[in-house]
């Protein structure tokens, strides 16, 4: 996932910034704003190569296929229509708060074809607070967006959280019935353990542990998927030796929470693709090594 590309603000050209928040801090905040736009367009975009120390002239020049230009130009002024005695600065002044929605997109070249209408480059969430201003203060800056990967900087990460867990496995070794069963249910999140009546059949079965408990409630595993494995049931003496918690070693439950540029399922497939590519490269390397 760290190598699935996405776009983020990388260069900030400060024309004027008289706010309390310093240039570098503001630039860092801007960088972390997740941007969205046409996926097709983003795929079409190419990497922007930055000059290195060995090769100071080797950087690519910004053009339509590697740089997207945004602008942030806000000025705070007094609101002449504010009610007397108003003390909320957002009502007292215009643009007291600068939000992500104040960023404007300025397409260049072929970008005009890719990023149109709803596909235009824009912040995923327009309500992200960037800075606060007071009358007379001004922010005027040009923001260059490039494509990058999360391994370089967290702002390029296309996901908020992306993780997996193994499917919990709860085994009730010996029957848990009656009051204990009710307590057992409480040791797990709702819906993990259910209660069932001990049937006559079970009760009549010798050695099952249900003898004489007919009609009482017994605990059964309903949905281990919902369990958070808090291991609470292991704390209580009455369940000692009656339950075994484990995980299914080959059952992965993935949880991918996209930041908003692409859908989670697409991102998952993308990351698998990256992984596959890596494996292929590694394999090739192995072959080369063997030679």
């Amino acid at each position: 996932m760290a190598e699935v590309p996405s776009i983020a603000i990388e260069f900030v050209f400060v024309h004027n910034n008289t706010s309390v928040i310093q240039d570098e801090v503001l630039a860092q905040r801007l960088g972390l704003i997740p941007l969205k736009g046409s996926v097709e367009g983003i795929n079409w975009m190419r990497w922007f190569k930055k000059p290195t120390e060995d090769d100071p002239e080797g950087g690519s020049t910004p053009s339509d296929f590697n740089t997207i230009v945004l602008r942030l130009d806000v000025k705070c002024e007094k609101n002449p229509h504010a009610a007397a005695g108003e003390d909320d600065p957002r009502k007292l002044y215009k643009h007291a708060h600068v939000y992500a929605r104040d960023i404007t997109f300025h397409p260049v070249g072929r970008q005009e074809q890719f990023f149109v209408g709803d596909d235009a480059i824009q912040p995923v969430n327009p309500d992200i607070l960037i800075a606060k201003l007071r009358p007379g203060q001004k922010i005027d800056m040009e923001l260059h967006v490039i494509k990058g990967i999360g391994a370089d900087h967290a702002k390029f990460s296309p996901v908020a959280t992306a993780s997996y867990r193994l499917l919990p496995d709860i085994k009730i070794l010996r029957p848990i019935v009656g009051e204990d069963a009710r307590k057992f249910v409480k040791c797990f999140p709702a819906g993990v353990i259910g209660l069932e009546q001990v049937t006559r059949e079970e009760a009549s079965q010798k050695g099952s542990g249900y003898e004489g408990h007919e009609g009482e409630m017994k605990a059964v595993v309903r949905d281990a998927f919902k369990d958070t494995v808090s291991r609470e049931c292991l704390r209580h003496e009455e369940f000692q030796g009656k339950v075994k918690l484990g995980r299914v070693r080959d059952h992965f439950i993935f949880n991918v929470e996209s930041v908003g540029q692409a859908d989670s399922d697409v991102l998952f497939l993308e990351s698998v693709k990256v992984l596959k590519l890596k494996c292929a490269r590694w394999k090739r390397g192995l072959v080369d090594l063997a030679r």
């Binding site: 996932m1 760290a2 990388e10 260069f11 900030v12 050209f13 400060v14 024309h15 004027n16 910034n17 008289t18 309390v20 310093q22 240039d23 570098e24 801090v25 630039a27 860092q28 960088g31 972390l32 930055k50 950087g59 910004p62 740089t67 230009v69 130009d73 003390d87 909320d88 600065p89 957002r90 708060h97 929605r101 104040d102 404007t104 300025h106 260049v108 327009p126 309500d127 001004k138 005027d140 800056m141 040009e142 999360g150 391994a151 900087h153 967290a154 702002k155 990460s157 959280t161 992306a162 993780s163 867990r165 193994l166 999140p189 958070t228 494995v229 808090s230 609470e232 949880n255 929470e257």
Partner: protein, 1222 residues
């Protein structure tokens, strides 16, 4: 005095970051420091468009949902007084046991954390100044006996600038000066000291009012300060932080604190023993307005003597008592020993001494003493007889704080007898020896008292100077005009101003009058963090020498309980000598003694001077002492005590007057003096707390304040001595029938700095002490005016957070509003090898997102001086070459100062100053007006290897009209390997590695830790509080509230664990983690949760240093020392030992000589001296001169020895003689 002219208000002229659209295109900022700048001219961006009106509409639409919070500025304490803790509303029932802590914010609201400083300063300004002037109000001339100047009144005005008129006049308008202006302009925040006086001019008496005799620095937030009684909103208009505690001074632009000084009490008898010399002695340091002296009563070889500086030898006590008019031996015996046989026996031996010397009468005694008085007075006065000499000494030198009125020596005799009795008591019972380290025997000296001493000295010198001056003028026979003393007074006003300024800015209190020579009284207020400043205001420094290896004064005394913080003391040499006040302490100011004395007699006590020794020490008789002086006698001490206390609780006498019974001494002590430490406690009688639920309800409603609790006798102040005489219950459940008081809140035993540790009662005690030292180094927000300040160095955190686990103290000191740290999700596990020895693993994702990011501001100042010949320093614009500024002038604008917002790199000029060449030549330059002045460039260049940005440029004018330029640079730093972090439990560590987010372990929920900490930090340090912080913090995160880790309270673990269980977590805070590297589950559960981490000021960037070759010191030619001078890394003695032991002689030779200060000299084998150019000057030959290489330092040593007439000859020998033949 020259007429003062009203200068234009030269307030700081701050250049804002605005630099216009035109110049702005060359100011690229990048999202990360590592990114290089890109010329923006090449950008293919289209011309900026007007923003569409749709964008304009949006904000208003969604503003509605944000606007439920009110922006009205509120008193920060209001929130605390609102009972929202434990989610209680106004209607909730009140539990006195749990809610009486509400008294604490009420106390702090009236008293505040630095109130002791402010109170003492206010006392100085309002009371003490007047007393000082009263005691020496008249100046008389020795020449003209009709002439006099009499000061009738003195008062301190409000702060004004030095260039504004200081005297009260018709055009006397309010000054607009605010403290922040003084900080920026490097001026002193001071107010004129104004006097009313009358004097004789010619034949008339003239009165003058409001004449300034000098300027006194004003303590911030004192009654004279511009910030007094201002609301937070008004404070912010003055650019001042509402949370700033005040209590310090601004002198020449630096903030100076006068630390609280701890001393042994004055005018009290202290009995001590010297087991080595077998001496028991009672000493008293007398201190009155006129004199300070120390008197002793010593028991030497079973005999009692009086010892004093003025006496050339110890005099037997019987002689002194006789001299004081105790005629009969019997009376003397009774006065000292009473009817007790043991003491009588002990004392009887002393009579022999007097008989041996043949002294039987008062006259003889006085004569004998007079002969032994050191005569050190000026010879100008007439010669006096021995008797007169002795009477004078006994009356006003020995034990000088007891006044002798109308030659009545009786009170002093009783005092001496009392001292003698204490010595005899201590001799017979070693437990009656006083403990010098006992807090009740200590007094704290505050800013007000120290300034009073200083002012008194300066004022007396001022009066003396005026007298001398007037005498000189009046001596002249024929004066042109009538002499006006007013001009003399104004002429001398500078002495007081400068004396005050110098003392506060250097910290040297040298007052000859009181033989006081103290250095280091003031310190620069540390603005490293809010807490550092606050911690400094509560600091107490002791007068003990740091080098002495005694443990007594350093040990934690039981009497410190609730008064001084048990955790907050530095490590190392000052350990235990520098202390800090606890949260609820107050330091008393002086109260009038007279009314109390009257009260004592009104309560039925007998005057002590009317009773003899028999009654004095009779059974059931208790003496009553005021401030250590026996005054009266009572036979019902308990009744007296209760009556006295009742009056105090009724508010008839000051609440700070203390009274207690000492049964060993059979004495009731009343104290009204200043510098006693005291604290409020709830009064308990008949086993019930006087503070009831309805009182607390009223406190909540705001209908009752802390002062009402005092006035209604629910709460009272106890000083250390009185506290020692009380039975104080800590909790309401502990109250028994004999309990007299109830603690308001137990966590107030800690001070402000120790109070921010969560669960400190679960930590090993030194860990709390370590945290107290480290909390002051944490980077965070320092004040709400931090971006307006220009400090020489300022560390700020970009995104400070308030701690997840708070404590009551944190809220009370408002640390949560100016925090210094961030809540990091910590996993306690091992990760790679980069986390051993307390190293931390940081998550790169967290760092990218702003964790631990901080800013460093540095100040660079210059003064544009003007010289005596009329020339001036000047600023000049950049030098051009090929139509572009030369490289090092790239940042400069036309005014010669760097543009705001630009990046400065090493070698670039930010202030292009030049100095006139002939600045030193006097006067003659003006005679040649045609010749242009030539200037020498003296630019200020940026020297640090790491670039910074120009944050601010300030141009202003100092007090002496010089132009002042301050440039503030800013660096924004992200954490790097080697930066120091610490939790709040004395657990510091450096960053060992910054790991990719993808490689960090994650939980089932997908949570990555921000920090991985090695578990080996726990077992030996036993910081259980840290674990509890984690659990309480995790529970708080899940439940959506703050955890509380208040000392002796806080969220119980059971409660926190239950929340964890309810949210599907393990009760212990341990989680199942998956490795980010292998993707497999970790075979152990990991303790994971939020812990508050502080970034400390020690950063690699400031310390990283290496050198291959570089500068050398001139004298020794060895490489220079230290990073700032690009110095070498020393191969020290121990390293040298290693090389010797290992036997690498050539490496040793290379390190110590060749790479350092190798020097070739010519040595004459003949005489052993050094020659020059193959020539020995001593032997006048070059025959046996040989060359050899030695360290330059060795050559220097030889020559230095020669310069002091010590010969050092070099005897040379061939090491391999057989080689010579070949």
């Amino acid at each position: 005095m020259p007429p003062r002219r009203r200068a234009p208000i030269s307030a700081a002229n701050l250049r804002s970051t605005q630099s216009g659209e035109a110049a702005a295109s060359s100011r690229p900022g990048t999202t990360d420091a590592s990114k290089r700048r890109r010329a923006s001219q090449s950008k293919p961006a289209p011309p900026p468009e007007e923003p569409t009106p749709v964008v304009e509409e949006q904000p208003q639409a969604s503003d509605e949902e944000h606007s439920h919070t009110s922006y009205r500025h509120r008193d920060p304490f209001d929130a605390l007084l609102e009972p929202f803790y434990y989610n209680k509303g106004l209607t909730d029932p009140i539990n006195t046991a749990k809610d009486k802590w509400n008294l604490l914010p009420a106390f702090l609201k009236v008293k505040g954390l630095v109130k002791q400083h402010i109170d003492s300063y206010n006392y100085l300004v309002e009371v003490q100044l007047k007393k000082i002037v009263e005691s020496s109000s008249t100046i008389r001339s020795d020449v003209d006996h009709n002439f006099y100047i009499k000061f009738t009144n003195i008062y301190l005005g409000f702060p004004r600038r030095a260039d504004e008129p200081q005297d009260v006049r018709a055009d006397f308008s309010e000054s607009t000066v605010a403290p922040h202006e003084c900080r920026l302009r490097d001026t002193t925040y001071a107010a004129p000291i104004q006097v009313d006086f009358e004097y004789v001019r010619g034949r008339q008496r003239v009165m003058r009012k409001g004449v300034a005799i000098g300027r006194m620095p004003v303590m911030l937030r004192s009654s004279k300060c511009a910030l007094a009684n201002k609301t937070p909103a008004e404070m912010s208009v003055l650019n001042e932080c509402p949370l700033d505690p005040g209590g310090y001074f601004i002198v020449n632009g630096t903030e100076k604190v006068i630390l609280v000084q701890e001393q042994l009490s004055k005018n009290r008898i202290i009995v001590e023993t010297d087991p080595k010399k077998e001496i028991v002695q009672a000493s008293v340091t007398s201190s009155s307005n006129e004199r300070k002296s120390k008197s002793y009563i010593v028991l030497k070889k079973d005999k009692l003597y009086v010892k004093h500086n003025v006496l050339s030898e110890d005099i037997p006590i019987v002689i002194l008592l006789k001299a004081m008019g105790i005629h009969t031996d019997k009376e003397m015996l009774l006065l000292v020993a009473g009817v007790d046989k043991v003491y009588q026996e002990d004392f009887a031996i002393n009579f022999e001494e007097a008989i041996k010397l043949g002294i039987y009468t008062q006259q003889q005694a006085l004569d004998w003493i007079g002969a032994r008085i050191k005569i050190n007075r000026k010879q100008s006065t007439y010669r006096r007889t021995h008797v007169q000499e002795a009477v004078e000494a006994i009356a006003s030198v020995i034990i000088s704080h007891i006044e002798v009125k109308n030659m009545d020596f009786r009170p002093k005799a009783i005092y001496v007898a009392h001292m003698a009795r204490r010595v005899l008591m201590a001799k017979n019972d070693a437990t009656l020896v006083d403990d010098r380290d006992y807090l009740g025997n200590k007094r704290l000296e505050l800013a007000g008292q120290l300034l009073a001493l200083l002012f008194e000295d300066l004022f007396k010198k001022f009066c003396f100077d005026i007298k001398m001056n007037i005498d000189k003028v009046l001596n002249k026979r024929n004066r042109a005009e009538a002499f006006d003393a007013y001009s003399v007074i104004t002429m001398h006003s500078n002495h007081i101003t400068q004396g005050m300024n110098r003392a506060i800015s250097t910290g040297n209190w040298s007052l000859k009058r009181f033989r006081m020579e103290r250095a280091g009284v003031t310190h620069v207020l540390s603005r490293l963090s809010y807490l550092a400043a606050l911690g400094m205001m509560t600091r107490i420094s002791s007068q003990f020498e740091k080098t002495r290896k005694v443990s007594g004064p350093r040990a934690l005394q039981p009497s410190n309980f609730g008064m001084l913080c048990p955790a907050d003391t530095p490590e190392g040499e000052a350990c235990g000598l520098v202390k800090n006040l606890a949260l609820m302490t107050h330091i008393t100011t002086n109260d009038e003694e007279g009314p109390i004395r009257n009260l004592i007699f009104m309560l039925g006590a007998e005057d002590i001077s009317t009773v003899g020794g028999k009654e004095l020490y009779g059974p059931g008789c208790y003496t009553i002492s005021i401030n250590g002086t026996p005054m009266a006698l009572t036979r019902r001490p308990k009744f007296f005590l209760n009556a006295f206390r009742r009056l105090r609780r009724m508010g008839r006498i000051s609440e700070f007057v203390s009274i207690y019974i000492n049964h060993h001494q059979r004495a009731v002590h009343v104290a009204t003096d200043d510098g006693r430490i005291c604290r409020p406690l709830v009064i308990v009688d008949n086993g019930k707390s006087r503070v009831k639920a309805h009182h607390l309800e009223k406190l909540r409603d705001g209908t009752m304040a802390f002062d009402d609790f005092l006035a209604q006798g629910l709460v009272e102040y106890l000083d250390v001595n009185e506290e020692n005489d009380s039975l104080i219950a800590i909790y309401e459940k502990d109250i028994t029938e004999t309990t007299t008081h109830l603690e308001i809140e137990p966590f107030t035993v800690l001070g402000a700095v120790a109070g921010l540790i969560p669960y400190p009662h679960h930590n090993q005690s030194p860990r709390n002490t370590y945290q107290c030292a480290m909390g002051k180094q944490a980077i965070g927000a320092i004040a709400s005016n931090q971006f307006l300040r220009i400090d020489s160095i300022l560390y700020l955190m970009v995104y400070p957070q308030k701690p997840m686990v708070k404590s009551r103290t944190i809220e009370l000191v408002k640390y949560d509003q100016l925090p210094a740290g961030q809540n990091a999700t910590v996993a306690v596990m091992s990760y790679s090898g980069y986390d051993i020895e307390d190293a931390l693993v940081l998550n790169k994702g967290s760092v990218d997102r702003g964790f631990g990011r901080c800013q460093v501001f540095k100040k660079y100042v210059t003064n544009l001086k003007s010289y005596s010949n009329g020339t001036k320093d000047r600023l000049s614009g950049p030098q051009y070459e090929n139509d572009a500024p030369i490289r090092k002038h790239a940042l400069l604008e036309s005014d010669g100062l760097a543009a705001v917002g630009e990046q400065v790199n090493a070698g670039e000029v930010y202030i292009n100053k030049s100095t006139p060449d002939q600045s030193m030549s006097s006067g003659f330059a003006s005679s040649d007006p045609g010749r242009p002045v030539s200037y020498m460039p003296t630019p200020m260049t940026y020297k640090l290897p790491d670039p910074a940005y120009i944050d601010k440029v300030m141009i202003s004018v100092t007090e002496n009209e010089n132009q002042l330029v301050k440039v503030l640079t800013r660096q924004t730093r992200r954490p790097e390997v080697g930066d120091k972090f610490s939790s709040r439990h004395g657990q510091k560590g450096v960053v060992g590695i910054i790991a990719d987010q993808a490689d960090m372990p994650f939980t089932d929920q997908g949570i990555n830790p921000d920090i991985i900490m090695n578990p080996h930090g726990f077992p030996s340090r036993m910081t259980v509080g840290k674990m509890l912080e984690l659990v309480a913090g995790k529970a708080g995160v899940l439940a959506g509230h703050h955890g509380y880790g208040t000392c002796f309270g806080g969220t119980p673990v059971q409660e926190a664990s239950q929340i964890l269980i309810d949210h599907g977590f393990s009760y212990g805070g341990k989680d199942y983690l998956t490795s980010g590297i292998t993707g497999e589950a970790l075979p152990f559960y990991v303790f994971t949760g939020p812990i508050y981490y502080q970034k400390l000021k020690h950063m690699v960037q400031d310390k990283m240093h290496s050198r291959a070759r570089g500068p050398r010191a001139i004298l020794t030619r060895q490489p220079t020392e230290g990073r700032s001078r690009d110095g070498g890394l020393r191969l020290g003695e121990m390293e040298r030992d290693c090389l010797i032991a290992y036997g690498t002689s050539q490496l040793l030779l290379e390190r110590l000589m060749i790479s350092s200060d190798r020097h070739e000299i010519d040595v004459c084998e003949q005489c052993g001296f050094m020659g020059y150019l193959n020539w020995c000057q001593r032997c006048k030959s070059s025959r046996s001169v040989v060359k050899m290489a030695i360290p330059y330092a060795a050559k220097l040593l030889i020559q230095e020895l020669m310069s002091m007439n010590v010969t050092a000859r070099l005897k040379l020998e061939d090491e391999f003689p057989e080689m010579k033949g070949r």
